[in-house]
């Protein structure tokens, strides 16, 4: 809500940004530091040009995004299906939920060594890892949402002798939708994080994470900073898209 009010850019916000950039430029030009560590700003812009033109920056970016979305699609759909199952069946929930709750305590990135040993360091490993990152929040929120269906509506459905599929489509899913979308939104953010992490550790193949690590190994600060900016920008856009989609899909609630 505050975001819309502050949408208009306040010039004061630019002051520290300009100061920071000026300090950067000054340090770079002072000759006190190696220009590979603190490259001048125009060098950074030039780098963007050469990276795009020659070294397939866009190719790396595309590879990361495709990887991200494939893993996300896999993990989130499994999460929704699993969440509906656990949400609707007390038996399934009692059987599986405790194990799931134990496993999700393990910090996400601690899975990487195990996944790398099981699936190699190629594409399969990365997608499995991204899917794992997307699966957990989707499942949790889908269970939550499915259980939030109003008991009265469920009774009405029973009175009308709805079949299982009708119950699911007409009663449970609409009730669960807001929560499912929250889960999917969170999953989208998590999978982008996981994509970068996977690329850090499994450096085979193109990707933004690979680019950043390469920049560090070669002491090319410019390349690393460029990669960071891209991580932030893509994360920001994914977040925006998810929020817009959420608002759109939930418009019927307020209408």
């Amino acid at each position: 809500m505050t975001a819309t009010r502050q949408r208009r850019l306040d010039w004061r916000g630019l002051v520290p940004v300009v100061v920071l950039l000026a300090a950067w430029e000054a340090i770079s030009r002072s000759g006190l530091t190696d220009t590979r560590i603190v490259p001048p700003l125009e060098g950074l812009v030039g780098l963007l040009g050469t990276e795009v033109a020659e070294k397939s920056l866009l190719g790396n970016l595309a590879a990361s995004i495709v990887r991200d979305l494939s893993g996300f699609a896999l993990g989130a759909s499994l999460g929704v299906v699993g969440g509906i199952l656990l949400g609707l069946s007390p038996l399934a929930s009692a059987l599986l939920r405790p194990s799931f709750d134990v496993f999700r305590q393990i910090a996400l990135f601690a899975w990487i060594p195990l996944i790398a040993m099981w699936f190699g360091i190629g594409e399969a490993s990365k997608i499995v890892f991204v899917a794992l990152a997307a699966f957990t929040p989707t499942l949790i929120n889908t269970v939550e949402g499915t259980r939030s269906a109003s008991a009265t509506l469920v009774e009405v459905g029973a009175l009308l002798r709805y079949r299982r599929s009708q119950m699911l489509l007409a009663i449970y899913l609409p009730a669960a939708l807001p929560s499912i979308l929250t889960g999917v939104h969170l999953a989208l953010i998590q999978s982008w994080l996981a994509t970068i992490g996977a690329e850090y550790f499994m450096t085979a193949g193109p990707g933004i994470g690979t680019l950043i690590i390469e920049g560090r190994d070669r002491f090319q600060m410019g390349q690393t900073v460029l990669g960071m900016i891209l991580i932030g920008a893509v994360g920001f856009l994914l977040n925006r898209i998810a929020r817009a989609a959420e608002n759109r899909l939930l418009r019927w609630r307020t209408a």
């Binding site: 916000g13 630019l14 405790p98 305590q105 060594p113 970068i196 920008a233």
Partner: protein, 271 residues
């Protein structure tokens, strides 16, 4: 980044709300027990090679061995120390920044663009840059853990202060409260719950960031133990370490949750 600190909140309370009927609780053990049995038999019959999945007995023995040799404890203590120092630094900075942005509109006008842009890059993204700037020593871990903590803490603190009804501030100015009194008597009590939400996310992010940075660049700590196990093709070490990481992650969150509950009780007591 703001949204990261919002969504998985419903997960917290769920265990209480939807506890399965008592007779069903026992069967939650069924799946792990069956899994363990299949794992044991599979390993014994040689269905899966030990490089892919070592037998449970081997993992357990490795765990005991690591424990008795003191390696596990030493590495755990190092990781815990790093996460607590980094968290303390990040949380203090985050609280300061969040409070300043929440209380002072001009400060927020100056700081928010820079803060919001920097907050878009997750802690993970800062690691290579920080490695270039400070090397791979102890300060790297501290910085990354602090960055992971700072963003959710600052964000939630600011949001908490913004949510204080403006009438309360008006009342305070009628009573001629000083700025310190406003913060102490009005802002702080009203924002404690939201600050705790931020702290909890902060600690979660701190732990996650620590594991990543230890995996990437460390010669001690639990993350290093994972990398070492993998390099030696000793999955038993990897799995035992994962279990410890899970247990600590759970304990850290449970500790903050307990403090949070205490504070909320206090809040209800003195409205």
């Amino acid at each position: 980044m703001a949204t990261i600190s919002v969504p998985d909140r419903p997960t917290r309370a769920r265990g209480i709300q939807f506890a399965p009927p008592v007779r069903l609780i026992g069967i939650g053990l069924l799946v792990p027990l069956l899994g363990l049995a299949a794992w044991t038999v599979g390993a014994r019959q040689g269905w899966v090679p030990p490089q892919i999945l070592p037998a449970p007995q081997v993992v357990w023995d490795t765990f005991l061995e690591l424990w008795q040799s003191g390696d596990l404890l030493a590495n755990t203590l190092i990781s815990l120390q790093r996460v607590l120092f980094g968290f303390a630094a990040g949380a203090s900075l985050g609280l300061l920044l969040g409070t300043a942005m929440g209380l002072s509109r001009p400060f927020e006008a100056y700081a928010s663009v820079l803060f919001t842009s920097l907050a878009q890059v997750p802690a993970l993204g800062w690691i290579p840059l920080a490695m270039l700037l400070v090397g791979i020593g102890e300060s790297l871990k501290l910085i990354i853990v602090a960055v992971g903590t700072l963003v959710p803490v600052a964000w939630n603190t600011r949001a908490g202060i913004r949510a204080v009804p403006s009438g309360w501030f008006e009342a305070a100015s009628l009573w001629r409260y000083s700025r310190a009194q406003v913060v102490w008597h009005i802002v702080l009590p009203a924002t404690v719950p939201q600050i705790f939400v931020g702290l909890r996310y902060g600690l979660g992010h701190a732990w996650l960031a620590l594991v990543v940075v230890e995996l990437l660049a460390s010669s001690e700590g639990l993350g290093y133990l994972l990398v070492w196990g993998r390099q030696m093709f000793q999955l038993d070490v990897v799995i035992a370490t994962m279990a410890v990481i899970g247990a600590i992650g759970f304990a850290l969150d449970a500790a903050l949750a307990a403090i949070e509950r205490r504070l909320q009780r206090w809040q209800v007591a003195s409205p």
